[in-house]
Symmetry: C2
Subunit: 255 residues, 2 copies
Amino acid sequence: MTHPIRTASAGDMARCERCNVHNRGICGHANDSVLNELNHISRIRSCSAGETILAQGDDAGIVGNVIDGVLKITKSLPDGREQIVGLLFPTDFFGRIYSNIADFSIEAATDATICVMKREAFEHAIEHHNAIEHNMLIQLSSELESAREWMVLLGCQNTLEKVSSFFALLLLRADKLCVSSLPYKQGVVVAFPINRHDIAAYLGTTVETLSRQIQYLSRQKVIKILDGKHFEILDEDRLLEFAGQDREFLHPAKS
Amino acid sequence: MTHPIRTASAGDMARCERCNVHNRGICGHANDSVLNELNHISRIRSCSAGETILAQGDDAGIVGNVIDGVLKITKSLPDGREQIVGLLFPTDFFGRIYSNIADFSIEAATDATICVMKREAFEHAIEHHNAIEHNMLIQLSSELESAREWMVLLGCQNTLEKVSSFFALLLLRADKLCVSSLPYKQGVVVAFPINRHDIAAYLGTTVETLSRQIQYLSRQKVIKILDGKHFEILDEDRLLEFAGQDREFLHPAKS
DNA sequence: CGAGTAATTGATCGCTGTCAACCATGGTGG
DNA sequence: CCACCATGGTTGACAGCGATCAATTACTCG
């Protein structure tokens, strides 16, 4: 799944220019000077599914962007419970700036390709290139918004609503995901980008309950189960009804 | 509860200088030029408990800071369910920049004094004063972190843990709250800054279950109920145990 | 002091987590 | 090629937490 992207040496600005996220996210609207700086301090890295990029409690030394694949932001409680507080798709930024310690783990949910930078170097870049700082501000604003939308889902939706919302999310985010070659959406077909366990952890439920609700949606002819990972959306309107909430919540955070 | 703060005319820089949050939050480290700009575009406003400052769905025309009192950021579902996705205490910033529509309501949870600005004016200020933008970035980073911590609480903690966490939160945030005259903490006494309904909406539960867990903590001699709003913390260690999670989560977002 | 609201307490029910068994899939090695 | 195993997903039985409805008590404010 990961693309064979060569690790360019510093100063090889062509790398950033070829990058499929180079004009999006925090790299958006970057002039040559900015792009050169980012190119200089970043490097490309491949991770296989399950790999931990940043461990909760560790020194938060790196930040970066997702180029391909899906990362998850998770927190584990001492007794083993785990909550996924965010999924990161291509163009998304990860890492905590201006903090020494990582409160969350960043893990690869699928095989992934990422662009990493040392935190200090990136902070330095922020402080010297207003465009980057501004992009970060925009990105953080919309991430905060999304996080709060998800809090509504976690705090007062039942599992059927949660699962329906997740389908709806995939449906609406499909455009964004198409920047990579992953076929999350083909016609009215969506694909789960991650396994059941992670989806359950994201929705604040268990794999069993999740499974039951998926089967229920299938019996209701709202979706058709193609295989364990692919689903055809048969009735989008009813799906959004099940999802409760107004559909506005699905608007992906614009950056 | 609100202080009699006169509404100063634009250009009266003395107002910002007298403001009890003027050197914190987004106003931190502001030089005269910046402070003057903020002073120019902002105005002080008093709100009584329950008042809506910004309605979800409305045009998101204003942003601001809490000077005194507590605001809540809420989302209501069509069927009446409500989730509070954030509480705003003095020095906290509210409002959504770079978005035309408000996805959440901002309401006064208590009588409050706030400092409001037109969104466009503030965005203009951001773009021309790097210090403000940087402060915003820092503030947003830590708010995102806090939001994610709360997602863990909503997604995988039971009500006893939620309630204990809320007590712990008040305990740890007490310092910050002391910038106002509200006696949230006096010795080992904490005060609920908002009513039961709002706490329940914040914790993703109901007033009934909330009440039962408070009584349980009382029977366990972890807290002592002084009156409906004031509680003495008898056993801080056990409280934090009940709260589960590592206590790091309580670290208030630094700004 | 009375009315209205807020908070507590009680009884009941259903959703969902837990534990367990079963099934499907894919990879491995004999 | 197939038996074997590991992993991931589904299905079933059951119990417990917490929501709901209802009733009572406490508080606040004219």
